[in-house]
Symmetry: C2
Subunit: 279 residues, 2 copies
């Protein structure tokens, strides 16, 4: 565990230019947003198209070399994908044909995750905003071929969906399952996170306008994800729902709700933007 907070270096691709006071480069903050996201968006530039490819994938941060590493440590990102997918093919091709010395091995990928915590409804449309948390990571993706590392990643990703789920299922995967599943390891080179919290910030001209104040509702609608009542499979035999699943639902729902409520509280220690428009 690092004694001081580690941060990613600021480089051309990760430096936040708009509202930079809302940005952070702290590994812990960025990694926790990534780990908490149910889906990540993974972008890479194919050779045969002008458009970046973007795929929704599951992923978790981790260190196979040092499994006890903290979320604030230097970590890799493990992504769950499939042998046949475009990302896997491109990643594999680049890994074997790259010159290896001048650039890191692997396919350059950008991973992003975003949470909306609230709709910020201000007096003017321009001062409308969202409370949000978003993180982006940049790194080089390669296919994991080492079986113990692949199992490590699969367990981590499964437990990222529901804590402790892996050992509650039929494990280990058989040979066919191991071969049909692919895992990418992304060596991270940089990243950043960005936030918005607080209630509405309106322009002075609107705050001084009686007719505006008397006609427009201003405030925040909290936004959060909810996990509903479990729906058992037809062939499920386990009743009632196991405690580790119900505990996860309870924790997840109360944490999500609380996060959205806290996001609407004005941060006392951060100076307000002079510009009321919010990113």
């Amino acid at each position: 565990m690092p004694r001081y907070e580690l941060t990613y270096p600021k480089e051309v691709h990760n430096t936040v230019k708009r509202y930079s006071s809302r940005a952070t480069y702290a590994l812990k903050t960025i990694h926790e947003i990534i780990n908490g996201a149910q889906l990540l968006h993974v972008a890479f530039q194919p050779d045969n198209s002008p458009f970046p490819a973007v795929l929704p994938m599951l992923g978790q941060m981790g260190s196979f070399e040092r499994p006890s590493a903290d979320t604030g440590d230097v970590l890799d990102l493990y992504l769950h994908g499939y042998v046949s997918s475009r990302l896997m093919n491109v990643s594999r091709a680049k890994t074997t044909t790259g010159d290896g010395q001048e650039t890191p091995a692997g396919l350059p990928v950008t991973i992003s995750a975003s949470f909306v915590d609230g709709l910020v409804l201000a007096l003017s449309p321009n001062a409308h905003s969202y409370n949000y948390r978003s993180a982006v990571l940049f790194g080089y993706a390669t296919v994991v071929t080492d079986v113990p590392e692949k199992l490590y990643a699969m367990e981590r990703i499964t437990n990222g969906v529901v804590p402790d789920r892996w050992r509650q299922t039929r494990v280990p995967p058989n040979n066919a399952e191991m071969q049909s599943t692919s895992v990418l390891r992304v060596r991270i080179v940089s990243g950043s996170a960005k936030f918005r919290q607080g209630n509405t910030h309106d322009d002075r001209c609107d705050l001084d306008d009686e007719s505006v104040l008397n006609n427009v509702w201003a405030g925040v609608l909290p936004v959060y994800t909810t996990l509903g009542d479990p729906i058992p499979a037809e062939y499920n035999r386990i009743n009632p729902v196991p405690a580790y699943i119900e505990q996860f639902r309870t924790d997840f729902n109360s944490n999500a709700h609380e996060t959205a409520l806290l996001a609407a509280v004005e941060p006392p220690d951060i100076k307000k933007d002079t510009d009321p428009q919010d990113d």
Copy 2:
């Protein structure tokens, strides 16, 4: 309104290769996923980095030339951004320096939106999955300079956050607001959407294994977004919360909950994958 369902052409960048039976190219389906997403992820390839840039942005489909167009019609995507952002700068630069005849004007961008509708917890880790809806659009982005078109897009994007919100706020924007706000129009060239719905699909070997069936809970945890109780700004004077906001919250919450529950129902008319692993 089109008499027949319009679909995007299948091209190299949008053809879904994995589980293609779950894919659709129908404009209406894709556009409704994009319009319903609170955040879009916008990816483009900068010249000075190996990594695609990915920015969370707000956007809505629309047709300025034919404002009455249906979501199933050919539409542009309007994105809300800022003059100083990297995307705006790149878009503007490409627009003016492109040769215009050989490739469409504008910056190639990929827009993606994803909803998680449920965590699908199967007997084996490999058969775990998500119920989800995801859409991707490919197109060329340019900065909107025409003032009426910009106002059209701003109103559409504001009403995409809360229906009817625009005319309930202080409008129109003043000159300073119009100049500090930028809007991108993306001319869409292709797109696709992908889904997963149903309950767990497990391997025969696990379904025939008494010890697995007697030990593993199998089923779906529905996932949906909730809008919490409104939190008024300190300077808000409107009490109670206006009906159009409360109606929106009620409709949004019941629709989101119902969508997650319906997603867990086995689709009767779609043949099951022989492979239980889910994307």
